[in-house]
Symmetry: C2
Subunit: 478 residues, 2 copies
């Protein structure tokens, strides 16, 4: 339990998942159906490099991809701290079908392989069988794995299906002016619409609910799959969904999304780490002290206490405190802290740097039977950006990235890079892809003429650049 | 369990506390030592009026008081929904003494009866005995009782003492540039100051911690006192403390404080009700389902479900959801909801309209053994206003009031009244008192020429108006 571990804990000797075939490479391909980036890239000498923590990462081939529907541009880089890239990404078009709502819940797959564009909201309550009404949206997701790439790969292959299923289960409510109290459209009580209105329930609340449920469902799938295959690991998840003129950003972990406009930088997510969720985690340990098995102290101190501190009054805080106070140190305070370390070094139970995410069902504190999963939440926080209400400019983008980027670049620096790059490259059809690449290069200590500061990230780094202006339009790109 | 109960539940037949002598009346008195308003006013016919829920309140004598140190102006009105005023208030000067930190913790009461003004931060680490160093601050508190005034009266008499004790226990850290890791000033580990700095711990965090602890201590005192005297009840608590150039606002309940300046309205508190704390309350019921004794459902629905809803898919949300989804109704969903009703009608366990506060240790759901206290928090949320950083104008004020005011006036309306009243009355030494009175009059449906809308509050109403500009100065008032 030293403070010198990798950013994410990697269990020595832990079996790695079998290598998967690399996903489609950087050259753009015509859109056919939702196709998800499954990249897990390796390169010669990676395993050796991972044993040299001070070594600079060797860049694996850049995996940028420009999608013809202009929906976003991904760039992923493997810092080679582990043999396989622990960052995974997925993006595609979401096609939400309407289901028949009879007792059998039979799904009508009217044209499952067709490319469905646009929205036909011709909805009426009480119809017996569905018509060919579809909702389409876009989906982008970044997964930052730890303890191996297995959970991140599973999440990249699974979460969009969970989300589509959850959205399809409520699509009747999504396309109504206001979600009905009863999904069937029946009105048991005459004032049911008023009850829904008083609660302020809107269609966007169903999308938020669907995202929350999809994350939980995906977490259960990952738990079953990892157990069945004898694998381990977990991942953070950052998902953006464009639907009905709104952008939903769901985050569980320490990745981040921001909106960058000419004169605005707006955070679209918050990070969930042992520090930011201290009170929730301490509260759980207060309610269930047996989770700490007598080996950890729930209290926070400025540093780990030692024998010399016994009897002294030291700064501390407990689950109910946002402020600090002093307490007299007794023997139980000398235990290892439930949350220990500061900033990037902060760890939950000495083990994990994030407090929300998917997987980690089997993760235990080294050499103990103490589980981390009870302290982790799979449910994301969801932010809604009303894109239709923005007066969009050509260069308005959302930047989504794993913590490898944000560890070395601030929101302001990223916005500066975006604003420096895009206006001078308006004719370049690859400019958003190049911007994603340039953002990643900026984390590799390259003197790029923009920051010139040579920041270095030793973590895997993944970036999506999503141009808001062209959403839903056909691509002018390659 | 109907929705037609009073705003706060009043148990029929519940023994009322014995009337207390009225506090000092409205005429200003010279400052001598912290003197706390203990008003519990009654008027003829009050008991009868309380049995006529549709009757308009009869105003009891206004209890305004201008303090010579210009620290604030209180106005309290009894809506007579109960025999005794359930709103209570306290204000005074806080005098924080330094304690000796030896093993005995003997308090040095060097000049206990003197009026101590100003701050002498001549602090040095490691001194054996304290010198005559004092911190002084101001304290204002509003308590809105329910189930009788007993808890509110106890809180008005007790909380300031708890706070002073908590502040005195950490005063060594308060007057240091940065709170030391060890209260004694000893440095066990050479880099202790760096650990404290890395955590960003500042003196204001000790005040926040002291407020949090004081609320909890006061809650315990109230629990013991009510049990010993066979009384019942609870209250909300809104406290403002001015100390070392900062204003701390601690809130547990549904009172509210706002800062009103010429071109700014800044909320200084948030309300804690079953609606705003839904997820915390549902989470607790999820962890401890036995708290609901099989009589309530944890889930939220737009309305209470009934037999006709069985088998239907209806809107719902659970503890982990900010969004909404649909579920198929089963028999257990027909139970009474843990949180029921909307807006001002929302109730916890069909009983209580607030989710934080003091007291209520014995409160149970009518005709059951189901306790409410496990769902209530006594810990406040604390907001810090850095008054020294504001370029204060003569008319900048903080308005603190119980929900009786905010139920009928918005922040914007209150700010409009403040800005309409103060500039034209700059020569009036009683203008802040008159403003507090005028705000209360505005809740009584009086056509006052300002709002002209005749809003009516049937609740007790209490208001403090705190002029920020003159804080710490001697009064020019009466």
């Amino acid at each position: 339990m030293s403070a010198g571990w990798f950013r994410r804990r990697f269990l020595p000797g832990e079996p790695l998942p079998a290598p998967r075939p690399p996903g489609p490479r950087a050259s753009p391909v015509p859109y056919q159906r939702p196709r998800f980036l499954r990249g897990s890239c390796s390169s010669p000498g990676a395993a050796e490099a991972s044993r040299r923590p001070d070594s600079r990462p060797v860049r694996s081939p850049a995996r940028g991809r420009a999608l013809p529907w202009n929906a976003g541009y991904a760039e992923i880089i493997n810092a080679e701290k582990s043999e396989f890239n622990e960052d995974q990404a997925a993006c595609g078009k979401l096609c939400i079908r309407r289901c028949e709502f009879g007792a059998e819940e039979e799904w009508l797959t009217l044209c499952p392989e067709e490319v469905i564009l646009g929205l036909n909201p011709s909805y009426s309550l009480g119809s017996g069988w569905v018509r060919q009404t579809f909702l389409t949206g876009h989906y982008w997701a970044l997964f930052d794995g730890h303890g191996g790439p297995a959970a991140a790969i599973l999440a990249a292959n699974t979460l969009h299906s969970c989300l589509r299923r959850q959205l399809e289960a409520v699509v009747e409510g999504l396309v109504a002016t206001r979600p009905p109290m009863h999904l069937s459209g029946r009105c048991i009580c005459p004032s049911d619409p008023q009850f829904v209105e008083e609660k302020g329930i809107k269609a966007e609340d169903l999308v938020i609910g669907a995202l929350e449920s999809a994350f939980q469902e995906c977490d259960e799938v990952i738990g079953r799959e990892l157990e069945a295959s004898g694998q381990v690991g977990g991942c953070t998840a950052l998902v953006a969904v464009s639907l009905q003129g709104k952008l939903y950003v769901a985050n569980a972990g320490d990745s981040r999304a921001i909106l960058v406009r000419r004169d605005e930088i707006r955070p679209l997510s918050s990070e969930f780490t042992p520090e930011t969720e201290r009170q929730r985690i301490q509260q759980l340990a207060f309610v269930y002290p047996e989770l700490l098995a007598g080996e950890f102290t729930r209290l926070e101190f400025p540093r780990r206490l030692k024998g010399d501190d016994l009897g002294q009054k030291v700064l501390f805080r407990d689950h109910h405190m946002r402020g600090w106070s002093y307490k007299r140190v007794d023997k139980s305070d000398l235990k290892y802290p439930l949350i220990h370390g500061q900033g990037r070094q902060a760890r939950l139970l000495g083990t994990l740097a994030v407090s929300r995410g998917l997987g980690d069902h089997q993760l235990r504190v080294l050499d103990t039977n103490i589980q981390l999963k009870p302290f982790l939440l799979s449910v994301p926080q969801v932010t809604v950006l009303d894109v239709d209400q923005l007066e969009l400019q050509e260069d308005d983008v959302v930047v989504m990235a794993t913590d490898g980027l944000w560890d070395v670049l601030s929101n302001e620096q990223v916005a500066w890079l975006v604003r420096s790059f895009l206006p001078g490259n308006q004719e370049d059809p690859h400019r958003f892809l190049k911007l994603a690449q340039m953002l990643i290069h900026s984390t590799q200590g390259k003197e790029d003429g923009l920051t010139g500061e040579g920041q270095v990230s030793y973590d895997d780094v993944s970036v999506f650049v999503i141009p808001l202006h062209s959403q839903g339009q056909d691509s002018n790109g390659p």
